[in-house]
Structure formats: structure tokens, C-alpha cells
């Protein structure tokens, strides 16, 4: 086939020409660092990737590099700002110029980096982890465990070769209180991609001896690197929070707390601080015990002293008390006895008075009766003096009246006044008709009698 062809170089030259014409420089690009290595000359070569947010599948990939001179500057700037080393897995916002070289192909030259983007991304990730832990209800679980008064048996999760671990153990063993600490290292990789899994594995080992240990200490073995991403990871945090023993962290970080610190029972800055904390706690306990022992000693002595005083006080007070009681009773009795003759003689005196009053009453009432009777008798006497005389006077008057009446009726008195009485045959003549002519009649006068014959009889007409 005699088809016309161009050489690869020609092709690459053409691509280079197209790309140069496209002016793809000083573009801000978001990407994830897939791989990062620095060569002998200090140039940094990266593999930038982009993954689908949901499927996590690779959707773009490109090589990139930072010139050594630029890299030193950018790295320092990035690390001092974010507190993170520029490393695999970080999402970065970088200023790139697209470069195409005939030999090396396409490459992105990184000229600048914006650390705030990475920080935002890291913070978001941390938030996501925390939210997930919270949703699962394990966020506070380790914090809720009670830290024993003395943490004597310690499981250490650390890198055994790290200087931090050695210092930590040294510090514990030479504590000023002479407390005996028991510790066992459960080694783990404390940085890099494998750290997460390694730490989780160490926790699982400790879990086998969970009844033995008092607490777990998670310390980072030191070193210059500040790659702490693993301590923000979900699995590490998940293991810490769910662990049945209290976890104390001493990871050593300068910036924000890591998620591991947040879920740990106690978070301290450094392994040294953790050792000091443990020693201090044991020391406090010793002090506490000694203090209590002293307090008890004082209280026991005080108590006994107090009771002794009380008993002696009772012993001292009840004797006078009894005597006072007896005295009181005696006084009361004597008072009663003293009142007795007074009461008795008062009573007798009252009765005497009463009897004396009887005499007066007798005198008064008896005299009254006799006086009354005397008056009655006097009255009788007066009536007696008056009444018979009165009666007699009445009778005298009656006599005089009777006498008068008789005197008035005496015929002698009539004769004396000139009246006369005529008799016929010795019989008083009261009617003219009683006599006839020729009858002899006698008429009596006061000083004698006349005798004669009736010459005529004149009867008066009827009245």
C-alpha cells in the first residue's frame, strides 16, 4: 500500500504546534495527586487523576511535574499552610501550563498551587467522616468509657522503631513516684497509605487482651513527616471510638485536632504528654490514697478523743445531776411540809369563823323572831284595850235608843200631851161605831177620869 505517511516526529511536531497554538498555559486545574515522586535533581513528577464522584472510577489522568526550584518553594508553602505534606491522595488546585514534547509527550508543568482548596477538601472529608461516625452512633463511645483511676497496664499502638515510642517507655519506667507501669507495644505503620489498615489491625490485636489492659495509647513514633491523613480516616476513627478500653492519643500535630483525637477518650499533643498524663494520674492516686489515710487517721483520733470527752463529761455531770435531783426532791418535800400546817390551820380557822358566824346569825334571827312576837303581843293588847270599850259604848248607846223608843211609845206621855182614852165596859174604844147612844163610857186623862153617857154617835163619812 503506497499510502503517504508522515514521520512520528512530524506528527508530534504537528501536535506540539496545535497545542502551542491553543495557548494552554497558566490554567487553574483541579485534580487529585495519584502518584508523586521526586528525582535526584529535586524535580517532582506527579501523576494527576480525576475520579468519578460517585463510582470512583478513573475518568482522567495526566502526567505533571514541578521544576525542582519551584517545587521546594511550593512544597514549603503548601505544607506550612495546610499542615499536610504534599502527597498522594490529596486533592489540589494547581496552575499548569500544558507542554508537549516530541520525546516525552504531554506533560503539565505546575507553576503554582492553592493550598486553601486542599484544606477545604480535607475539611470536607473530615466532616464526612465525623458525620458518618455520628450517624452510626459511635462518635462519643470511647469518650464515655470511664478512665480508671490508675492506668497501670497499657497497650501501646505505635511504630516500635520510632524515637517517640522509646522516649515514652523510658519516661514511664523512670517515673518519680516509683509506680510500676506494665506496657506492651502493638506495632503499626503510623503513616502513609498502609497506616490506616495497620492501625486497625493493631487495635484488633489489642482487642484479644481487652480484659488485661487498662487503656490503649496511640502514639505516633515521631519523625519529620507530617503525614497525618490516616488519623482523619474513617477506619482508624471507627476502631478508636468503638474500642472497649479508653484510648489515649499522642499523635503530635500542630494544627486542627485529627478525627482520631476527637473520638479518643483523652487526646494529648505528644507521646511525652501522654506519659506525663499517665504518671501524673498514678501520682495523684497515690497522693489521694495517702491523703485519705491521713484524713482517716485524724478522724479516728478525733473521734476517739471526742467520745472520750463525751464519756468523761457524762461521768462528770451525772453525779452532780443525781445529787441535784435528790436535793430538788428534798426541797420540794420540805416545801410541801411547810405548806401543810398553814393549809390545815387555814382550813380550821375558816371553820371556826364559820361557827362564830353561826352564833351571830342565831342572835340576829332569834332576836328578830322574839321582837316580832313582842310587837304582835303589843298589838293584841292595844286591840284589847280598845275593842271591849267600843263594844260597851255601842251597847250603852243601844240602851239609850231603846229607852227613848219605849218612852215615846208610853201612853202616859200621850195623856200628858192632852190626848185621852175612852173605855166602854173596861174596853178601849178605838171606833165610834163601837158604842151606842146611851152607853156609859169612861174617859181617862192624865190627871183623872170622867164618866158619862153617850148622847149621839156621829160616824164620819168615809175618808
Amino acid at each position: 500500500m503506497g499510502q503517504e505517511a508522515i514521520s512520528l516526529f512530524q506528527l508530534n511536531q504537528k501536535i506540539k504546534g496545535v497545542l502551542d497554538d491553543a495557548l494552554l498555559h497558566s490554567l487553574w486545574v483541579k485534580a487529585e495527586i495519584g502518584e508523586l515522586r521526586v528525582n535526584r535533581n529535586g524535580h517532582c513528577y506527579l501523576d494527576l487523576v480525576e475520579k468519578d464522584d460517585f463510582t470512583d472510577q478513573l475518568i482522567a489522568r495526566s502526567r505533571a511535574m514541578i521544576w525542582a526550584q519551584n517545587y521546594r518553594m511550593l512544597k514549603a508553602y503548601f505544607e506550612s499552610t495546610t499542615g499536610q505534606s504534599l502527597n498522594t491522595g490529596l486533592k489540589v488546585l494547581i496552575k499548569v501550563t500544558v507542554q508537549f514534547q516530541e520525546v516525552f509527550g504531554l506533560s503539565l508543568i505546575i507553576t503554582d498551587i492553592d493550598p486553601s482548596y486542599t484544606m477545604g477538601d480535607l475539611a470536607r472529608k473530615r466532616r464526612e467522616v465525623l458525620m458518618r461516625l455520628e450517624e452510626e452512633g459511635v462518635l462519643e463511645m470511647n469518650k464515655e468509657l470511664e478512665l480508671p483511676s490508675v492506668i497501670q497496664k497499657i497497650a501501646i499502638i505505635s511504630s516500635p522503631t520510632a524515637a517517640g515510642y522509646g522516649d515514652f517507655v523510658n519516661q514511664l519506667e523512670n517515673n518519680p513516684y516509683g509506680v510500676k507501669f506494665y506496657h506492651q507495644i502493638f506495632s503499626a505503620i503510623m503513616q502513609g497509605e498502609k497506616a490506616e489498615q495497620s492501625i486497625a489491625g493493631a487495635f484488633e490485636k489489642v482487642f484479644e487482651y481487652v480484659d488485661f489492659f487498662d487503656a490503649v495509647v496511640l502514639i505516633r513514633g515521631g519523625g519529620a513527616t507530617i503525614d497525618l491523613l490516616c488519623f482523619d480516616s474513617y477506619w482508624v476513627a471507627y476502631h478508636i471510638s468503638q474500642f472497649p478500653l479508653p484510648v489515649i492519643t499522642g499523635i503530635g500535630h500542630e494544627r486542627d485536632e485529627s478525627v482520631a483525637d476527637m473520638v479518643a477518650n483523652e487526646a494529648l499533643k505528644t507521646p511525652t504528654a501522654v506519659a506525663a498524663f499517665l504518671i501524673e494520674r498514678a501520682g495523684q492516686f497515690l497522693d489521694f490514697i495517702d491523703e485519705k489515710a491521713l484524713l482517716m487517721t485524724e478522724m479516728a483520733r478525733d473521734f476517739i478523743l471526742q467520745e472520750k470527752r463525751r464519756t468523761e463529761q457524762i461521768a462528770a455531770s451525772y453525779v452532780p445531776g443525781v445529787k441535784m435531783d435528790l436535793q430538788r426532791r428534798s426541797n420540794r418535800l420540805e416545801r410541801l411540809i411547810g405548806k401543810f400546817p398553814v393549809s390545815a390551820s387555814l382550813r380550821i380557822g375558816e371553820e371556826n369563823g364559820r361557827l362564830n358566824r353561826v352564833k351571830e346569825s342565831v342572835m340576829h334571827a332569834g332576836g328578830q323572831i322574839i321582837k316580832g312576837q313582842k310587837i304582835a303581843l303589843q298589838h293584841f293588847r292595844q286591840n284589847l284595850l280598845y275593842l271591849p270599850g267600843h263594844k260597851l259604848a255601842n251597847e250603852h248607846q243601844k240602851m239609850r235608843f231603846l229607852e227613848n223608843t219605849v218612852r215615846l211609845n208610853d201612853p202616859v206621855n200621850l195623856l200628858n200631851k192632852g190626848y185621852s182614852l175612852t173605855y166602854h165596859n173596861g174596853k178601849l174604844v178605838k171606833r165610834v161605831a163601837e158604842v151606842k147612844q146611851g152607853d156609859v163610857i169612861n174617859t181617862r186623862f192624865c190627871d183623872g177620869e170622867l164618866s158619862g153617857k153617850v148622847e149621839a154617835v156621829n160616824v164620819k163619812n168615809k175618808k
Binding site: M399, L402, D410, V412, L428
Partner: protein, 66 residues
């Protein structure tokens, strides 16, 4: 009639009887002066009795006052 036994009251009764008759003119003039005499006698008797009684009473009262 035994005068001793005659009481003042009987005497007064007799006097009053006689006076009654006199007033009712039941008495004859013939009886009249007899009766007048009787009354006179009775009155005297009464007076004497009264006097005696009076004296006796006086005496008793005198004694009482002593």
C-alpha cells in the same frame, strides 16, 4: 222567869220584840204600859249588866297593864 239566868242577849231580844210589836201597833194600850214597864226593867237589867261587864273588863285590863 229566874232573872239570874237571864242573859243580856235575851234581854235585848225581849226589848226588841216588844219594840217591834209597839211599832206595828200590835199592842193594846192596855198591854202597852205593862210592856213599857217591862222594857224599862229590861233596860235597867242591861245597863247593870253593861256596867258590871265594863267594870270587870276595866279590872282585867288594869291587871294586864300592871
Amino acid at each position: 222567869m229566874a232573872q239570874k239566868k237571864q242573859t243580856y242577849n235575851q234581854a235585848i231580844a225581849e226589848i226588841e220584840e216588844i219594840l217591834d210589836k209597839m211599832e206595828n201597833e200590835e199592842l193594846d194600850v192596855d198591854e202597852l204600859s205593862d210592856k213599857v214597864k217591862r222594857v224599862s226593867e229590861l233596860v235597867r237589867f242591861c245597863r247593870t249588866k253593861l256596867k258590871n261587864t265594863e267594870e270587870e273588863v276595866e279590872k282585867v285590863l288594869k291587871e294586864m297593864e300592871e
